[in-house]
């Protein structure tokens, strides 16, 4: 889904949750996004945080932002938010 500004929804999959007791998934996800898009452009970028059973988030990113996130440490994969169907 494009939002008219060449941003698209992506899943950023980061694997298992780290075992450190003080790990805060959502703030980590926010800090990754801040690093990539800048604090002033954060609004509406983070769609979902996965933080209970595994690690990752869904976000609106441009193609170049997607490439930057994919190259970051701790990221397994970045892929478009697809639509599946009931069978």
């Amino acid at each position: 889904t494009h939002d008219g500004q060449d941003k698209q929804e992506y899943i950023v999959y980061m694997g298992s949750l780290p075992s450190q007791a003080d790990y805060a998934p959502m703030s980590h996800h926010m800090s990754i996004l801040q690093e990539i898009v800048g604090e002033s452009l954060m609004e509406g970028r983070l769609l979902r945080s996965y933080k209970r059973s595994f690690n990752g988030f869904a976000a609106r990113l441009t193609d170049s932002e997607r490439e930057q996130v994919a190259g970051m440490e701790g990221v397994v994969s970045v892929f478009p938010n697809k639509k599946l169907k009931l069978q």
């Binding site: 298992s16 933080k51 059973s53 397994v76 892929f79 697809k82 069978q87």
Partner: protein, 616 residues
């Protein structure tokens, strides 16, 4: 469902051995289109409070109430967790619905409707509101795993294939597996095309769809008294009254539209010539008949399934349709009546349905998919009162008839839960193995790829046998990590996915993963080959048992299969023994897989694994 559990031998009440106290502690997570909480299938009469392990929530939205049967609900789109299409209610009731007597769909499929584990609890996660987005699927897995479900059933899929790390169901199922939760997934409805199955990860249980011994037929009584038997799910009763027949081409809107009118293309028909008559079409487009004001439709339809329509319809196979056209052409005033559907005994069951997605596995060619087959045709189960069964008709019904791998998936999830009630400590792969190795044998019904193990996997699920498999093929999380290393994922990635220390110094070839089936793709068909599979079985049948191996070649297979050792002596419970299967041959048929079955038997348990070698 009102028939499929009986077909598989899971009888009602005391006819089936159960472990009620553990069943009551079992929670099925249903990731689907929501649920209808007021359905009798989910009434909590006789249920105690939710199991202590339950950490979920009732967050179904406004006016959505959970109870001691439906113990949790979540939704991820605006609105609530209520099911609008009926799909989620249907699948939930197949797996775990209460026993509800006197259920039917307008009298069709009458009986006691029940799930596999009626005493278990349900947690519904509404992941599809029209579409099923990856971000929502992942949210639901994130929640369901943490909430404490035991089994996940997800009748959702794609028509495209993605790498495991970009497949939301594979990702969610991996983390579920890590927490001891088995994920059961529909194979998909894009068969019989080769390699159409998109549920490919080895840690999931992928389910194909088949027929049962009950099938709906719809008779057509012609003006000359002759009766033809067609297929459809027709609840409308014309009470034997005959109506004029109009063949599509006789109702063409213009002479130039005669050919497309034969096929009943909507723009080619003159509604005034159709109204009040039974429209006859070369192609099954009942909706066109409905919109043009026809009383009913008789169509040429050789497919092995039919769906509910908003008017009386019968689909005739080609020969019957030709005979029917002869009647129309020869009669002065051709007329017919379409009767209400009835059920007949289907002695050819189980047979994989044409729409069920087929292997081989595009991502992991040496892992056979689908894994297992279960009923997926004309299943009577609970429905949402928001769902409209017929076009724009506003009728609301408590039960519906649905077909698809969506329906076969919760059958196997229900069996997995049933098995788990007897073996709560078993890992997801042990439960999966028990289901696969005890399956009924199925045979290739035609001489093409689509009718082989690539259609039915290990065979048809057998709930009772699955609860007592004798031996199981267990796969640990560490094995899956070594498997990912063998798939050339690097150590950093596998470490991230698993959350554990990984060096990838130990790699497992996909064909050596301790999978309950054995499959190998060869690079060419015209060469000599030798393929080795390494496996380890765990004894869960009883101490001091001797298992002898037997290999049964599928008709025509040119394979030499050696098992070493040929006999396994199991002295104690949970003892593990390893063996090797070496398959050799040459000159494989490039158009058909060559297959065999390995059966370990101690005289009581028969532990069967398909062996599939293919090229191209």
């Amino acid at each position: 469902t009102t028939a499929s559990w009986d077909f598989m031998g899971l009888k009602e009440g005391k006819g089936t051995k159960r472990n009620p106290s553990v069943e009551s502690e079992t929670i099925i997570g249903v990731l689907d289109g929501g649920i209808w909480p007021e359905s009798e299938s989910f009434s909590d009469k006789g249920f105690g409070p939710p199991p202590k392990k339950w950490k979920g929530a009732c967050a179904g939205g406004e006016n959505f109430t959970c109870n001691n049967k439906l113990i949790g609900a979540r939704h991820y789109s605006p609105g609530d967790a209520r099911d609008s299409s009926g799909h989620g209610t249907h699948t939930a009731s197949i797996a775990a619905g209460n026993a509800v007597p006197n259920a039917s769909f307008f009298g069709l499929g009458y009986g006691t409707m029940r799930g596999a584990v009626p005493a278990s609890r349900i947690a519904a996660y509404r992941v599809c509101a029209g579409e099923c987005r990856d971000d929502i699927l992942l949210s639901a897995f994130d929640d369901a795993i943490a909430d404490g479900v035991d089994i996940i059933t997800i009748s959702v899929g794609s028509i495209d294939v993605y790498p495991l790390e970009e497949d939301p169901i594979a990702i969610g199922a991996f983390h579920a597996m890590s927490k001891g939760i088995l994920t059961v997934n529909a194979a998909g409805n894009t068969g019989p095309n080769i390699a159409s199955v998109t549920s490919l990860a080895p840690w999931m249980l992928t389910v194909a769809a088949s027929t049962t011994n009950r099938v709906f037929v719809t008779k057509v009584v012609l003006g000359d008294g002759k009766t033809l038997v067609g297929r459809s799910v027709n609840v409308f009763d014309l009470k034997g009254k005959k109506f004029p027949l109009v063949y599509g081409k006789s109702a063409a809107s213009s002479a130039s539209n005669a050919t497309c009118a034969e096929d009943c293309m909507p723009d080619c028909l003159d509604a005034s010539l159709v109204k009040g008559k039974i429209l006859v079409c070369n192609i099954s487009f009942p909706y066109v008949a409905y919109t043009k004001g026809a009383v009913g439709a008789i169509v040429k339809d050789g497919s092995d399934w039919a769906q509910m329509e908003g008017l009386p319809v019968s689909g005739l196979e080609e020969d019957d349709f030709e005979s029917f056209l002869s009647y129309i052409n020869s009669a002065k005033s051709p007329e017919a009546s379409v009767l209400k559907s009835e059920t007949i005994y289907n002695q050819t069951a189980p047979k994989v349905l044409s729409f069920s997605s087929r292997g081989p596995n595009i991502i992991v060619p040496d892992i056979l998919k689908p894994d297992i087959t279960a009923p997926g045709l004309e299943i009577v189960a609970a429905n949402s009162l928001k769902a409209l069964p017929f076009y724009d008709d506003t009728t609301h019904v408590k039960y519906s008839v649905e077909s698809g791998t969506s329906m076969s998936c919760p059958h196997v999830a229900g069996v997995a839960a049933y098995v788990k009630t007897f073996h709560p400590e078993w890992s997801p792969s042990m439960i999966k193995s028990a289901i696969m190795t005890t399956a009924w044998s199925m045979n290739a019904t035609q001489t093409d790829y689509a009718s082989t193990e690539f259609a039915y996997g290990s065979g048809h699920v057998d709930p009772i046998a699955a609860s007592n498999p004798g031996l199981v093929y267990d796969i640990t999380k560490a094995d899956y990590m070594a498997f990912l290393c063998g798939m050339n994922y690097n150590a950093t990635t596998v470490k991230l996915i698993s959350g554990e220390a990984v060096t990838c110094t130990e790699k497992i070839l996909p064909r050596d993963l301790n999978y309950p089936s054995m499959s190998a793709k060869l690079s060419g068909s015209n060469v000599s080959f030798t393929v080795t599979f390494k496996r380890t079985v765990t004894n869960v049948g009883g101490s001091n048992s001797t298992y002898k191996s037997k290999v049964v070649l599928t008709h025509g297979a040119k394979l030499n299969v050696m098992v070493s050792p040929r006999v396994l002596y199991m002295k104690s419970m949970n003892e593990k023994q390893s063996f090797t299967v070496t398959v050799s041959g040459r000159g494989l048929d490039p158009k058909m897989p060559s297959s065999a079955s390995l059966i370990w038997s101690d005289g009581t348990h028969n532990v069967r694994s398909p062996i599939v070698i293919y090229a191209g």
